[in-house]
Amino acid sequence: MNRLEQLFIDKPEKVLNIYFTAGFPSLSHTLPMIQSIQDSGADLVEVGIPFSDPVVDGETIQKANIKALDNGMSVDLLFQQLKDLRKSIHIPVILMGDINPVFQFGIERFCQKCQEVGIDGLILPNLPMAEYLEDFKDLFDRYGLLNIFLITPQTSEERIREIDHNSKGFIYMVSSASTTGSTSGVTPEMKEYFERVNAMKLSNPRLIGFGIKDKETFLQASEFANGAIIGSAFIRAIQNPDTAIDSASEFIKSVLS
């Protein structure tokens, strides 16, 4: 069984998923950062593949993307860095990124590499469901990769059901209509949306992302789903390359304290 699926069986609540950008803040940080995230107690790690023109990302992650690219990060290099991932990392790892660098790498080659290094799932926000089902699903299945879909407050009930039907692992609930990095906390509208989705009794676990930034918001979100994802707030905490690993650990511990 895929590590992701196993995770939610073992721990159906308060799952903490940490996002960071590969090659950030320094090129050499990718694997040590995953290690630190695991060691600090997070349940799941989402490694961003940097892209020059990320549309769903807010300013913090955009800047991390640019820094990582300036550092020399690429898909090719990422797989080299993750070669020995599974020697020390046992939590699920998913890759997240724009579809274009994946295209250029070659889809099948990409999947193969993912399997080789031990990736469990993919979040490709601009891979639409229709294209996924038609051209990607078989490949992903063949290489044991779960495709994670997003839903937003504007996603219709019908489409949520469709997404649930086509999902494995978990569903990524975008907390509000926004790019990453907004910091409004859990508003009444979000609550309404979380409860609405809750009431749908989906077959997949759900993690809430966008706007989760600390212990308080993590716990709030966890009330309505199986856990939450922290991205921008984490990136902000690890800006300094000299102290990034310690800062990562501190940050995660403060969320889980």
């Binding site: 023109d53 990320p54 549309v55 274009n100 295209f103 639409p128 997003l150 219709s156 926004s178 790019t179």
Partner: protein, 397 residues
């Protein structure tokens, strides 16, 4: 607006032109784009929409724009050159054909806010214009570099009551303005419509924009017939940034295989330099801004920052329809350098008393490669006027 069906070059059911197109969008945009997809054809071909659209094109935009026989230019090139005068449209470029269409659509979809990106500022002005006309709030994203080099258009947008937001990331040009506009739409999905300015973006944008712009070729057919007895020119030239004026110019000619379709891309300093925007020469298949098309990118799939002296062509991709025309060989692409374009623009000014937008100057420069015969007919899309480009032209004078 005439509908065409069963064209070999039209978009298919799935939103593709051959291998290119689709709607490669994040889930956040799905409801908006899907709403558009399901409704656009029905709305825009409704008699009531058509009436309002056509009336505004006539009384407000000033259509039909003339098809002008350029006598002195024809003598210079020893052929017969007609200019389709989109420069005479209200606001100074073809862009307004599309924004009129989209604002009417947005109203019918119940949207009361508009966001747009702009490069040369022509689309921004055209959007700000229709928003003023309808009393709708308008935000336009524009790259910081373009804000600088197209200052008059920034002033115009402000006069029209629009908010101009600087895009400060990347090359700070059109691509980055588009990123920002998309992000804005993601952040404001409910009452905002995104008026894309070219035949780019997720399906149905490329098709929708092409249909609004197809009034250009519809008019050319009629006007050329009146002037020459034939609807079809031998050559049809347009510049391609995203490709909306080209799409409009080609639209009703795509299946007329006797018509040589020519696209002028911006070579910048040259296709062999790292300062270029000639997508078909330098690009590979890729996904940007919601559609699969040709894209200038590194081996790692990172988007390359393009360069063109013309802000409106300074974009690393082209619309999927044009990628398809290129791949099928239906259109012939020329890469026109900054210098070639500037010379062509100055030539038209001096010979015909028409100062073209630098974008359009790229189309004019293609005449040097075309070698059209003395008994042949060439129609060139003069997509816009050069008022916005005077400071750039002055440097070349």
């Amino acid at each position: 607006m005439l509908q065409i069906e069963n064209s070999a070059f039209a978009v298919d059911e799935r939103g593709y032109y051959g291998d290119f197109g689709g709607a490669w969008i994040p889930e956040m945009l799905y409801p908006n784009v899907e709403e558009l997809r399901q409704n656009y054809l029905q709305i825009i071909y409704s008699p009531e929409f058509q009436e309002e659209f056509n009336q505004l094109l006539t009384d407000y935009v000033g259509r039909p724009t003339p098809l002008y026989y350029a006598n002195r230019l024809s003598n210079e090139y020893k052929t017969n050159i007609y200019l389709k005068r989109e420069d005479l449209c209200h606001t100074g470029a073809h862009k307004v054909n599309n924004t009129i269409g989209q604002i009417l659509l947005a109203k019918r979809l119940g949207k009361n806010k508009i966001v747009a990106e702009t490069g040369a500022g022509q689309h921004g002005v055209a959007t700000a214009t229709v928003c003023a006309l309808m009393g709708i709030e308008c935000i336009v994203y524009m790259g910081e570099v373009d804000i600088e080099r197209q200052a008059p258009n920034v002033a115009r947008m402000k006069m029209l009551g629009a908010t101009v937001m600087p895009a400060k990331s990347g090359s700070r040009t059109l691509k980055d303005a588009t990123n920002e506009a998309m992000r804005h739409w993601i952040n404001n999905p409910v009452d905002t419509h995104y008026i894309i300015g070219s035949v780019v973006g997720p399906h149905p944008y490329p098709d929708m924009v092409a249909r609004f712009q197809s009034v250009i070729s519809e008019e050319i057919r009629k006007q050329l017939f009146e002037k020459t007895g034939s609807e079809n020119p031998d050559h049809l030239i347009a510049c391609v940034g995203g490709g909306s004026n080209a799409a409009g110019t080609y639209f009703h000619y795509l299946d007329e295989l006797s018509v040589n379709i020519v696209a002028a891309e911006a070579a910048g300093h040259g296709v062999k330099t790292d300062k270029s925007a000639a997508t078909t020469f330098l690009g590979k298949e890729g996904v940007l801004h919601g559609s699969k098309s040709l894209l200038m990118q590194t081996i790692d799939g990172q988007v390359i920052e393009p360069h063109s002296i013309s802000a409106g062509l300074d974009y690393p991709g082209i619309g999927p329809m044009h990628a398809h025309l290129w791949k099928t060989g239906r259109a012939k692409f020329y890469a026109i350098s900054d210098d070639e374009a500037m010379q062509a623009g100055m030539k038209l000014s001096k010979l015909e008393g028409i100062i073209p937008a630098i974008e359009s100057s790229h189309a004019l420069a293609a005449l040097d490669y075309l070698k059209a015969g003395s008994d042949e007919t060439v129609v060139i899309s003069l997509s816009g006027r050069g008022d916005k480009d005077l400071s750039t032209y002055m440097k070349y004078l």
